[in-house]
Amino acid sequence: MEWETVIGLEIHAQLRTKSKIFSSASTAFGAAPNTQACAVDLGLPGVLPVVNAEAIRMATKFGLATNSEVCKHSVFARKNYFYPDLPKGYQISQMELPIVGVGSIDIDLEDGTKKTIGITRAHLEEDAGKSLHEDYQGMTGIDLNRAGTPLLEIVSEPDMRSAKEAVAYMKKIHSLVQYLEICDGNMAEGSFRCDANVSVRPKGQKEYGTRAELKNINSFRFVERAINLEVERQIEEIEDGRKVVQETRLYDADKHETRSMRSKEEANDYRYFPDPDLLPVVLDDVYLEEVRKTLPELPAEKSTRFVNDLGLSEYDAGILTTSRELADFFEAVINESVEAKLTANWIIGDVSARLNKEDLSITDCPVSVIHLAGMLKRIEDNTISGKIAKDVFDGMWKGEGDADTVIEKKGLKQITDNSAIEAIIDEVISNSPNQLEQYRSGKDKLFGYFVGQVMKASQGKANPAQVNTILKDKLK
């Protein structure tokens, strides 16, 4: 039987506020345990939560950027459950009237087409603390620094049909929240994480199958793996005549398996009700307009501009706009009056490859905008070939100075003098009598051999276009 996968994601984006959502304690990462957990965060009796205006503004920005309905009247509710990392016995969240309602976002699929993924809602809530299970002999250690950190939970419609689509959606949201400067996107520190609701159904069937929820996945790679693994497991269950049970499962990256998180399946009963400590949050049109004015150019708009104004391909524009930092770097280079396509090729190619290899982000790139632009100009004015530029780039990467310095020091200047190139070609031809004979008797493919030899003899410095022209002439 052919199966169809159905996926919906719940993404938790930690908002970049300085203080917590309901208290004035700091949200900074990495402080000593419980030094940033104040009376409100600890849920001590008699305290009152007060909403952080910045959290509201950030959620509003997200709503506007995804063409979602921003609710002018939203309500905080208590979600009741007992766990020691949640000292109040309830989490303040939003249930019936979330701040962001229905919207959508377009994702880019591998075949170059776009797909619209529905956003069901996005609501504000407070994060819980952290439990540490090791090293406390039969006890659990609780650090409440993270308790009360503002989260925006972004809930998608079950619109994704493969793990790859889920990853594409997650990447899109990840990039968007960073463009909007509402989340730092740091997955290693847990600022951006997701739960995936996964189910399968026979292809063509209308009803959804029973879903399992995969919890707290914190990397793009793991999302794809965890979903694929879960899909395989569910299909196997059904094909073996068993049933998929609705449950929460944990993905274990080390063992590469998903496993049930609850031994006894007890339906959650959170008994949501409006939090009497908090009044409804009311926003008006003036406010929404003010926030709208602060929205930056978004990835999709930027990408369209790169295609229309700079003549880039949609593919290149898509890659360059995946992160705001990358797009900014690109624009800074072309502002040094370097041609856009050449710049795009280098940033997407050699620059990104080297950054990946050394696990660096574009903001840590050892080659500055000015240095890269300087090198690209030397390609444009034929001082160096694209191939030699790789050596120059390597030199700049290692801190040997700007392009001109590296070219000078390593003697990489391109040979563009016709007579010099002719001399090299003459020598190559006279050293290859057999190949010359074969070429002249019709083995055209050997042209490449001659080009290779000439480039080798000139240590890659001969201008390739000139080599081609002169070589053709001489081989006649």
Binding site: S24, N34, G141, V281
Partner: protein, 95 residues
């Protein structure tokens, strides 16, 4: 609508309240009478009236995003039953 003893047990469990078996019937009666009161109120015609999320018809005041709290860990941990390395220690929870 009236609550049975199973309802009372489950509500008590959700609220992590320990109740005496012999009082369950009494609890069921009192809780049922509260629900009875709500049912009585249901008789009021509320067509066209927007539900309120709070009895006070005002909106939330927002706070500027500023860090004003200082570290008071020592003070707070004085009332904790057990602490270590700055952490609050609780009976082990393993899920």
């Amino acid at each position: 609508m009236s609550l049975g003893s199973d309802d009372v047990k489950s509500i008590a469990h959700l609220a992590r309240l320990e109740i005496d078996e012999k009082n369950i019937e009494e609890h069921a009666k009192t809780l049922s009478s509260i629900i009875g009161l709500v049912e009585e109120m249901n008789a009021v015609d509320t067509t066209g009236i927007k539900p309120m999320a709070h009895p006070m018809d005002i909106s939330q005041r927002l706070r500027a995003d500023e860090v004003l709290e200082e570290n008071q860990r020592e003070l707070f941990q004085k009332v904790a039953p057990e602490t270590k390395d700055g952490l609050y220690l609780v009976p082990q929870v393993i899920e």
